[in-house]
C-alpha cells in the first residue's frame, strides 16, 4: 500500500459518514485501535550521527525495517534511541525516502554499497524515484557487466568450464559460438575460414584467361574452362564442408526455428544452394543461361566471413539501423536524376547523332555527372544542354554531400535513441507493474483478511490472534473502511477467480437465478466454513472454489440430485457452527474437514432453516457471529430477515 496516504486515512474514514444513511445493512464496528499517544519524535542514531523524525513518518512504510516492529531490535533502552551501525551518509537518503516518498540515488557513492544499504533497511530497488532511476540502472548494469566480463575472462583463462551433464548439442553449440573454448573448435573455425577463402579465390581465378595449349591461333580461355575438373573438385570439396558445417549448426542450435530465420544461416544456404541446383539441372543450352546466373550467387560465400569478423557484423547492423536515412538519400537522388535527365533530354533533343536518345538513356549521364564521375561517354552539345549540365554537376555535389553527415549524425543519434527508448519502455513496464502490484497487494490483503475470519467479533483474544495475521493499525482501519463500503452496497469484494466463476454460473443455461443462488451458496458457504476455521481457510477455499468450478459447469439435474442427497448432513454443519468455535477449534476443524470432504455443494435450503429460526441456540456471541456469517452468504434479496437477525 503506498504510503504517505496513511495520513489521509482518517479523512477517508470520516468521509464514510456519507454512506451511513444509504447503508442497507448494519455497518461493522470500528476496529479497537489503542488510544493514539499523539505523535512522538524518534531518535535514530546511525554510527554517531543523530537523526530525529516523527514516528508517523516512519510508519508510512510498514513493510520496511524502520516502519515495522523490526526496528525494536535496534532499540537501546539506556539512551532511548535506535542505534544502527551503518553508513550515516547513506542513511540520509533512506530517511529522505520516508519523508518525501522518493528514493534518490547518491551520485558519488558506489552503487553496490547503496544496494546493500537498501537491502538492510528493507527497501526494494524499484522504489528508486524516476529522477534517479535511469542512472541507477545504468550504473548497476555497468557494474554487472564489468563483473561478468571479469568472470568470463577468468573462465576463458581456466579453460572450458561446462556445466556437468551438458549434452552433445550444448557442447557443439558452445564450440560453434565461442571458438576459443576448445582446441577442436578453434581448428574447425580456422578450417572453415580457410575453405571460404579458397572458395572465393577459386571463383575469382576461374575467370582469369589462361594461356591455352599451344594451338594456332593461341586461344585464350578462362581457367575455369581449361581445367574444369580441377575447379569442380575444389568447388565440391568446399560445398561439402559448408554443407557439413550448416547441418552441424542446425543440429546444435538450441532453437532451430530461430536459427533458420537468422541472417547467417540464410547466407549459408545461399552459398551452397547454387551448387546443388547446378547438379540437378541438366546441361542443355536453354537453362544454362540461368545456371550461369546462379553461379553469381557463389560470391555470397564471402559474407560467411562475417562470422569470423566482428567489424563486418557491426557494419551490417549499422546499415540496417540506418536504413531510413539511406532510403531518403536514395529517394532524393532519384528525384534529382529524373528531373535532370528529363531536362537534358529535351535540351539535347534537337541535336543530330546525339547520345541522349531517351530519358532513361539520359539517366546514365545524370548519375555520372551528379556523382562527379564524369566518364565523358555522353556529353551535351547544345548551349542549353551545357548550362543544365553544369547546374546538374553543381547540384550533384550538394545532393550527395549533404545527406552523408546527416546520415552519420542520424546514425549515432538513432542508435542512442533506440537504446534510451528501450530503457524507457522497460522503466514504464516496471512502474506499471509496481502500481499493479501495490493495488493487487491491497486487494489481496483485504481478501485474505476476510478469508482469515477477520469479520468475526474481535472478542476472543488469543485464538483470534493465532488465526488472524498480525496487521498494523493502518491495515485494520483500511479494511474496516472497505468493509463498510461492502455493507453499504450489499456487494462484496472478490478476486478475479471467484468473479469469473460467478459470471460463468450466471451465464449457464436458462435457470440463471437458480444457478447463481447455488454458486453463491457455494461461495458463501466457503466463507462461512472458512471464517470458523481460519487456519484451514485457504485450503478449503481452494477446494470449494474448485468444486464450485466443477459445479458451475455441470448440469442442472446433477445439481438437484446432489442437493437432495446432501440435505441430511447440512444441519449437522449448522449445529457445529453454533457451538462455541473457539473452544474446540480442532474438533470443529476435523468435523468441518469431514463435512467439506463429502459436501461439495451446500444445499440451497441449508440457509433457510437458519433463517426460519430467528433466535438461534448457543451463546449470544456465537449466534451473532453465525447470523452475521449467514448474512454474508445471503444475497440482499431478503432484507427483512437480515433486520430480524440484527436485533
Amino acid at each position: 500500500m503506498a504510503a504517505g496516504v496513511a495520513t489521509w486515512l482518517p479523512f477517508a474514514r470520516a468521509a464514510a459518514v456519507g454512506w451511513l444513511p444509504l447503508a442497507q445493512q448494519p455497518l461493522p464496528p470500528a476496529p479497537g485501535v489503542k488510544a493514539s499517544r499523539g505523535d512522538e519524535v524518534l531518535v535514530v542514531n546511525v554510527s554517531g550521527r543523530r537523526f530525529e523524525t516523527w514516528k508517523n513518518t516512519l510508519d508510512r512504510y510498514p513493510d520496511t525495517l524502520l516502519g515495522s516492529s523490526e526496528k525494536e531490535f535496534f532499540y537501546d533502552a539506556d539512551s532511548g534511541e535506535y542505534f544502527f551501525d551503518r553508513d550515516p551518509d547513506m542513511f540520509r537518503h533512506v530517511l529522505n525516502f520516508y519523508r518525501t516518498g522518493r528514493l534518490h540515488c547518491p551520485r558519488q557513492e558506489c552503487i553496490q554499497a547503496f544496494d546493500e544499504e537498501l537491502a538492510f533497511y528493507g527497501l526494494v530497488p524499484e522504489l528508486v524515484g524516476d529522477c534517479c532511476l535511469e542512472e541507477y540502472r545504468d550504473r548497476k548494469k555497468e557494474n554487472a557487466e564489468r563483473l561478468a566480463e571479469d568472470e568470463e575472462a577468468e573462465q576463458a583463462g581456466d579453460g572450458p568450464a561446462l556445466p556437468a551433464g551438458s549434452s552433445l548439442r550444448q557442447r557443439l553449440w558452445r564450440a560453434f559460438e565461442n571458438p576459443h573454448t576448445s582446441t577442436a573448435a578453434l581448428v574447425f573455425y580456422y578450417v572453415t575460414g580457410f575453405f571460404i577463402a579458397v572458395s572465393v579465390i577459386a571463383n575469382v581465378v576461374e575467370t582469369i584467361p589462361c594461356r591455352g595449349p599451344a594451338r594456332r591461333p593461341p586461344r585464350e580461355q578462362p581457367c575455369g574452362d581449361r581445367f574444369p575438373l580441377a575447379f569442380f573438385c575444389m568447388d565440391t570439396a568446399c560445398v561439402l564442408i559448408f554443407t557439413g558445417e550448416y547441418l552441424l549448426r542446425l543440429f546444435a542450435a538450441p532453437s532451430r526455428c530461430r536459427f533458420l530465420r537468422s541472417v547467417m544461416s540464410l547466407i549459408d544456404v545461399v552459398a551452397i544452394l547454387p551448387y546443388y541446383i547446378g547438379l540437378f539441372v541438366p546441361k542443355n543450352e536453354d537453362v544454362s543461361g540461368a545456371f550461369v546466373t546462379l553461379r553469381v550467387f557463389r560470391v555470397f560465400r564471402i559474407f560467411k566471413f562475417s562470422r569470423h569478423s566482428q567489424g563486418l557484423r557491426i557494419l551490417g547492423y549499422t546499415l540496417k539501423s540506418c536504413a531510413s536515412e539511406l532510403g531518403f538519400l536514395l529517394f532524393s537522388l532519384t528525384m534529382a536524376i529524373i528531373i535532370f535527365a528529363t531536362v537534358m533530354f529535351y535540351a539535347e533533343k534537337g541535336t543530330n547523332k546525339t547520345n541522349f536518345t531517351s530519358i532513361p538513356a539520359a539517366f546514365w549521364y545524370t548519375i555520372v555527372t551528379m556523382t562527379t564521375l564524369g566518364y565523358g561517354d555522353m556529353v551535351p552539345s547544345t548551349i542549353a544542354g551545357k548550362i543544365f549540365g553544369s547546374i546538374c554537376s553543381l547540384s550533384g555535389v550538394l545532393v550527395i554531400a549533404l545527406p552523408v553527415p546527416v546520415i552519420v549524425s542520424n546514425f549515432s543519434r538513432i542508435y542512442h535513441q533506440n537504446q534510451r527508448a528501450d530503457k524507457r519502455r522497460a522503466q514504464q513496464k516496471v512502474r506499471l507493474a509496481r502500481i499493479r502490484l501495490a493495488k493487487s497487494g491491497t486487494t489481496n490483503a483485504f481478501l485474505q483478511y476476510k478469508q482469515n475470519g477477520g469479520l468475526e467479533d474481535s472478542g476472543s483474544g488469543e485464538e483470534q490472534a493465532l488465526c488472524v495475521r498480525n496487521r498494523s493499525a493502518f491495515e485494520q482501519q483500511h479494511h474496516h473502511l472497505l468493509h463498510c463500503l461492502e455493507k453499504t452496497t450489499c456487494h462484496e469484494f472478490t478476486d478475479e477467480l471467484t468473479f469469473s466463476e460467478a459470471l460463468g454460473a450466471v451465464s449457464l443455461g436458462g435457470r440463471t437465478s437458480r444457478s447463481t443462488s447455488v454458486s453463491s451458496q457455494a461461495v458463501g458457504s466457503s466463507s462461512l466454513l472458512s471464517s470458523c476455521c481460519p487456519r484451514r481457510a485457504k485450503r478449503r477455499a481452494i477446494r470449494l472454489a474448485n468444486s464450485t468450478a466443477s459445479v458451475s459447469r455441470g448440469s442442472m439435474q446433477e445439481l438437484d440430485t446432489l442437493a437432495g442427497l446432501r440435505r441430511s448432513p447440512a444441519p449437522q454443519s449448522r449445529s457445529s457452527l453454533n457451538a462455541k468455535p473457539h473452544d474446540s477449534l480442532d474438533l470443529n476443524c476435523d468435523s468441518r474437514d469431514f463435512v467439506a470432504a463429502i459436501i461439495s455443494i451446500p444445499t440451497p435450503p441449508a440457509n433457510t432453516p437458519d433463517e426460519s429460526q430467528p433466535s438461534s441456540p448457543g451463546g449470544g456471541g456465537g449466534a451473532s457471529s453465525t447470523l452475521r456469517n449467514s448474512s454474508l452468504g445471503t444475497p440482499c434479496l431478503l432484507p427483512e430477515t437480515v433486520k430480524i437477525s440484527s436485533l
Partner: protein
C-alpha cells in the same frame, strides 16, 4: 496557480473554531501539507485541488473507480467553491464528521447528496451518488453487480425517506427518517475515534 502558497489561520483560531485539540490539528496539518508524495506531479502546498483529492481517494479503493465519488466529496468539502480545499475547509469538514452532533453529521450527509445545493434531493441526484458509490466497488464483486442495482437502491432509499411521496427528499424528511432508523443512529458513532 501553483506558486501561491496558502498559509492557514493561526492554530489557536482553528482550535477555537473546530473541536480538535492542538495536537490533533498539528498531526492533521502535517499530513495535509504533503498530500501527494507518491505521484509524479507537483502539488501546491497548502491547498488540495481536485486532482490530488481524486488520486488520494483512489489509493484507498484500488479495485474500483472512485473519481466520481471523490468529485462529490470534494464539492462537499470545498464550501466556498473556489476549486481548492484549504486547510480551514478541511478542518471544518472533519470537525463535523468526527466530532459533530448527529444532527450536524446528517446535515453534512444531506449536503453531500444534494449535488446542486438547492435543498432537495431528487432521484437523479441520488442516482448519481449511488452510481458513484457502486463504481468504487469495481468489477469483481460478489454477487455480480447488476446494471440496475444502484437504481434499486435509490428506490429503497426513497421509499424509506420520502414521507410525503413527492419525489424529493427535504432536509427535514431526511433527518426525521434517519433518526427513526436504529442502524443509522448506531453507526453514527462508528468513526469517532478516527484521529
Amino acid at each position: 496557480m501553483a506558486t501561491v502558497r496558502h498559509r492557514p489561520e493561526a492554530l489557536e483560531l482553528l482550535e477555537a473554531q473546530s473541536k480538535f485539540t492542538k495536537k490533533e490539528l498539528q498531526i492533521l496539518y502535517r499530513g495535509f501539507k504533503n498530500p501527494c508524495p507518491l505521484s509524479h506531479q507537483e502539488c501546491p502546498s497548502g491547498v488540495v485541488n481536485e486532482e490530488t483529492f481524486k488520486e488520494i481517494y483512489s489509493q484507498f479503493f484500488p479495485q474500483g473507480d472512485s473519481t466520481t465519488y471523490a468529485h462529490f466529496l470534494f464539492n462537499a468539502f470545498d464550501t466556498d467553491h473556489n476549486g481548492a480545499v484549504s486547510f480551514e475547509d478541511f478542518i471544518k469538514g472533519l470537525s463535523i464528521l468526527l466530532r459533530g452532533t448527529v444532527q450536524e453529521k446528517l446535515n453534512w450527509a444531506f449536503n453531500l447528496y444534494d449535488i446542486n445545493k438547492d435543498g432537495y434531493i431528487t432521484k437523479e441526484e441520488m442516482l448519481d451518488i449511488m452510481k458513484a458509490i457502486y463504481d468504487m466497488m469495481g468489477k469483481c464483486t460478489y454477487p455480480v453487480l447488476k446494471e440496475d442495482a444502484p437504481r434499486q437502491h435509490v428506490e429503497t432509499f426513497f421509499q424509506k425517506m420520502d414521507k410525503n411521496k413527492d419525489g424529493v427528499v427535504t432536509i427535514d424528511e431526511f433527518i426525521e427518517s434517519c433518526q427513526k432508523d436504529e442502524n443509522i443512529m448506531r453507526s453514527m458513532q462508528l468513526f469517532e475515534n478516527v484521529i
